[in-house]
Symmetry: C2
Subunit: 343 residues, 2 copies
């Protein structure tokens, strides 16, 4: 198995994010990389640095205006708020059927509220480079599978599955899983994404929401009481040509392996019906019982069980790191999952 | 002329709101009342305290879930964030065509992001009572016009025109202008709203966006570079049955009286075509040259000019206070406008 990792990903290191309206220490820290690397080492994986990625490649799944915004944000924000190192929106492009559609304004304060979806996507001077490094890992992991590898692992950090085509959110800037799936699709392979992060992969679902050529399936904690709150419900099934090509499987908080396995069967059955040639696994490890977000109660041995069951699909796979936050078991859980998957 | 005012409106007094991501002193202060009252005194208006309003009356223009949220917010927020006296969302129900529609979650943190639209609607323990007092002024001002008064003034504070049916935003909680218009409409009078606040009346427009029975017209600074940023563009004309019954007239920052008068002619022509029986004026005074938001360059004598021109419509009017922030001319500008209107 080949692991993709670029040291530039360490450089993104904001101190805080907003929780219930107050700045709190951010758990999406560079130290996650060390913990995940312990898991990679435990299974003896080769580690490669991916080739650099350009904005045009990231643009396969992201809006040109959004990329332009991220490239220029720091300089523009400095013109309106010299005291605020990290741009935090004070307005948001709230949307619902009762309002007219939101228009993108010119002012950077307005654009921040249009493109930054919440208080959990702080942009430091190093964020763009780190997010590009993260996306580069996903892109190379996909390329290697296209070239014949059976299993690749992209140690993507910052994560990506809450980022939509034109929206950063929830620690995510570029949607690494969507990028891998799009590159595989463009490479001629029918691709499904299985997102096992405890939080709904709302960005990934949104990117493919109107499309039938990429299947998105997510097993996650019921968003009624956990981030991303507004999306991830069972009735979100895709739209237009994409109707029926998104499957959300929300489970209650505290879910243990037995109930989880039942949902996994439903997910894999839908994937089997779709008959993909390659599977992208958006591998959030925050379903672990000791993850600080306390969503599900999945134990280390359960990660192996989950991996083994997915491997029975007998498909080439690229595993994209999503969430999973500092805890004693983060690295061993990764090793358990990858081992189950066949590493 | 009769002025409506309830002292409970003073009680809402948050210290800060977010500007470019940082807390800044909030200009929507109780002291505004003193300044506006000087204007009321200058024209010798009678001042009455309105009868108390109930939630059912506010519910004429607001969603039941939103009202329930505001009633219970403080207690529920205390359960998730004992350190944060003022609920500030950390997530937002961002909406655009590329995302699935946002669903209302159960958790108060999620509901805060659904119902509180930005960082400028801090809810203190006194906010609900003050906002109800403000709405009571608007309701009574409308009732008096229904009973035959030619001109009433509701000293509404907090203001209302950024609040939609299910959304607080921009210092606004209950949409006083929309409530007055709805009560007049229900009272059998064909009603138009002319919003002259420097910020687009996006909440008011949204409340009537799908309806043809109430015309909404707003003259405001181009939202490309000023709040509310995402709404207020000329192409927002209403929807469905309401198509053509919203008119946005954005003007560039720094606009002086000559260009303003041209836009006012366009607005009044559209209103004349609609042929209302009563006019609601959403009277933001922040078009003043010395207003801290520095949107337009309207002088005290211009307020009289504007009032005189509107009065030539020869319609009964209820004037609802919207924005207008501490400046030496706030009270005299109100007096100038009301005098022009015929007070």
């Amino acid at each position: 198995m080949i692991t993709l990792y670029d040291p530039v990903q360490r450089s993104h290191a904001p101190e805080t994010f907003l929780v219930a309206g107050r700045p709190q220490p951010i758990p999406e820290r560079p130290e996650r990389i060390d913990m995940l690397m312990q898991g990679v080492a435990a299974i003896g994986s080769e580690v490669r640095k991916p080739p650099a990625i350009d904005l045009a490649t990231v643009g396969l799944v992201h809006d040109a205006g959004y990329l332009d915004f991220l490239v220029n944000l720091r300089e523009r924000w400095g013109h309106v708020s010299q005291s605020s190192d990290i741009p935090l929106p004070n307005v948001y492009a709230i949307g619902r059927s009762s309002l007219p559609p939101a228009t993108l304004p010119d002012a950077v304060v307005g654009q921040a509220g249009f493109y930054l979806g919440d208080g959990a996507c702080p942009v430091t001077k190093d964020t763009l480079a780190a997010a590009l490094g993260s996306a580069a890992c996903a892109a190379e992991a996909a390329r290697l599978v296209l070239k014949g590898e059976r299993l690749t692992y992209a140690l993507c950090r910052p994560p990506g599955h809450h980022a939509a085509a034109d929206l950063a959110a929830g620690f995510c800037f570029f949607n690494n899983s969507a990028l891998a799936a799009e590159m595989l699709t463009k490479g001629g392979k029918r691709t499904a994404i299985l997102d096992i992060d405890v939080h709904h992969g709302n960005g990934t679902a949104a990117i493919f929401y109107d499309r039938a050529d990429v299947l998105t399936v997510s097993i996650h904690a019921n968003p009624k009481r956990i981030y991303p709150f507004f999306w991830g419900y069972a009735d979100e099934r895709g739209r237009g040509a994409g109707e029926g090509f998104n499957l959300n499987l929300p489970l209650e908080r505290g879910t243990e392996i037995d109930a989880y396995k039942a949902a996994l069967e439903t997910a894999l059955q839908r994937i089997a019906d779709f008959a993909p040639e390659i599977l992208v696994i958006a591998a959030g490890l925050d379903i672990a019982i000791d993850d600080p977000f306390k969503g599900f109660a999945i134990r280390t041995e359960d990660f192996t069980t989950i991996g083994v069951r997915i491997a029975q699909m007998n498909l080439p796979m690229t595993v994209i790191q999503e969430g999973g936050y500092p805890s004693p078991s983060l690295g061993v859980n990764l090793a358990a999952l990858l081992k189950g998957l066949g590493a």
